[in-house]
Symmetry: C2
Subunit: 428 residues, 2 copies
Amino acid sequence: MTQLEEARKGVVTEEMKFIAEREGIDAEKLRRNVAKGYTVIFRNVRHDWVKPVAVGAGVRVKVNANIGTSRDIVDVKAEIEKAKVAVKYGADTIMDLSTGGDLDEIRKTIMHAVDVPVGTVPIYQAAEEMLAKGKAIIEMSEEDMWRAVEKHFKDGVDYTTIHVGVTKEVVEKMKRTKRAVGMVSRGGTFLAAWILHWGEENPFYKDYDYLLELAREYDVVLSLGDGLRPGGLPDAGDELQIAELYTLGRLVRRAREAGVQTMVEGPGHVPIDQIAAQVKLAKVATDNAPFYVLGPIVTDIFPGYDHITAAIGGAIAALNGADFLCYVTPAEHLGLPDVEHVRQGVIAAKIAAHAVNLTRFEADFKKDYLMALARGKLNWARQFELSMDKERFVEIRKERPTKTEACSMCGDLCAIKLINDMLAGERK
Amino acid sequence: MTQLEEARKGVVTEEMKFIAEREGIDAEKLRRNVAKGYTVIFRNVRHDWVKPVAVGAGVRVKVNANIGTSRDIVDVKAEIEKAKVAVKYGADTIMDLSTGGDLDEIRKTIMHAVDVPVGTVPIYQAAEEMLAKGKAIIEMSEEDMWRAVEKHFKDGVDYTTIHVGVTKEVVEKMKRTKRAVGMVSRGGTFLAAWILHWGEENPFYKDYDYLLELAREYDVVLSLGDGLRPGGLPDAGDELQIAELYTLGRLVRRAREAGVQTMVEGPGHVPIDQIAAQVKLAKVATDNAPFYVLGPIVTDIFPGYDHITAAIGGAIAALNGADFLCYVTPAEHLGLPDVEHVRQGVIAAKIAAHAVNLTRFEADFKKDYLMALARGKLNWARQFELSMDKERFVEIRKERPTKTEACSMCGDLCAIKLINDMLAGERK
């Protein structure tokens, strides 16, 4: 039985207890949100060693880090390090998006390198295997696609992106629709190209019931991919994006009926004044399914800094109801990230998530409160302890040293020192 | 006559024409906003070589970069480089906050190194001169304070922070108010300490009319400092902060009556769900004076990354009406920034400002539109041209190379390439 089915029956599972304890929330409340499908729990029945994580209503906003090889750069050791660095700096989950090297082996290695839930996009593997055989991606058969999905489910992957909303209908609509950037979702594009070539319906849409059957068996959370998400600000909120969103909303409801956990993926590239509306619309269209956003980035002209453009968009999305932030690294739109890019990406996304979580969870706010107290006392050792990136803290303090008990910005003109001394004098 | 007085008389000044041209707006509309005090123009009558900049209603959100020596680190060459780097990456103005070395000389050198408006905090100089004489800061006389102000005005500084809201009354209130971090405004603290020590009123508040007289003479924009701004999230929106804000609101009105341009400074450290309310309140309290925020940063536990915590807060503040973003660098709370920190800080603040400006100005949105088009065509040369940091663009492309016409993230699995090829095939 899936977590959703258990929850509906009134059962508080071990996973719910574990998560409730970790989040400091009531397990029964968590159960009710899982039962309604407002919250999902990542825990493939075969992924024994994972620490389950919940995403959705009533729990903290979470951060996902995408890692994985590409066809240009295959360095499995670096990918393991990326996974570990991501978790160290606060990623709640990892997606292995590898498309180069021995994909089965890499996936298993990554899943054993960390204890956080792991997600994948199975169709990447189906596509990569075509190229490896010297074939075109569109030559993949329906069986190839299903085989990849089933393999990932059996390997214990906790959530998978399936671009089930890229239907024949929306692909036809796309041919008539002007966009600045056509499609930027890899998996979505494989399916769109396949549909265009064969004139057939998306197999995952056509045989959605079979997908649900498989997902139910392993309790994999289906992450309904937004294949038509905007690839640039000008395309945000266009007819294609929203048509797909409503398809996903229908499919969320069917999944829930089948006892399968689902979440919905969102953009992407969105102007800052449109983010709140987009999140609200997604919640309405999908009956409050957990909403998993990629960024969104709020401008396109700062390549090299998309961890920041995404942190802005992600924070605003989370403030308005998004539940799960996929990080974006400084390498986005330029190349495959390296380990340092992963660190930067995770920290930026974590800042966005924490900024919202601290307004909802006392324990999170307390971290900031303690830091404020430490600053008010110029207690540098304590500030170090409370810092989310201690290496960086030490690095800057060392590079820019002071001769005083303050810092090299103000030195003995430090406001805090001056006012503390003065008020202490007053109290004598 | 000041720009405000000219505007009231119905005169569209040369400065207004210059700004209207540069912003692509109507000069008469700009004049009306200046006349109401909703928009200020930085242009000290003595600063002949400056390119004037407007901040406030109807113009773009602007970015300020603070530079300057400290008592620990005096490297004038580095400060000149910081000023140039800041302007290169998009700072609209510079504040010289030097507190180490020959302050008069440094200020003049910086003002001649760039053609953007320059702001200062004159009381820093008064305080530094006390320490240089081996005296305590509180020993400064009222004459010392006024001398610093007048010197900066005469030197052509375009806007100066004056902590005129740090009154005897609010300092008394502070003694009875519990805060996580007492005071973090340097200038504000000098005055608070001075008030506490001597039991006298803040000279700038007491003799505000004299300050207005001086400001009017040189057409310096008074930036009414928020000496009581929160120094940590727990203090945001407390009684001290808001009491001072309303004092500043009163002083804005008096300045306008005297024909003096003013803006109001804001926080600081603010929880993300409080930013919109704070900006709105500031606009109400100050009758829509241009609002100049320092960040705000949205969490305290990420030292080393406060350019990002501030970019999030700054973007939300700007979206809700803040007009002017003071950058925060990665070195904030740790030490005096170096040149690279300045670059990072400016870019992060520029992202925040641009994200909002593109929703208001077609010319700004067009930059993102063109980038989206270039991406949709995998035109890398054009993407490079349109990038706000070209060095960074090249750096990452080189470090993470691809053998394909796409990038090393997807290589020949590139969604854009695939869908373009497919749609091109369809059209044949």
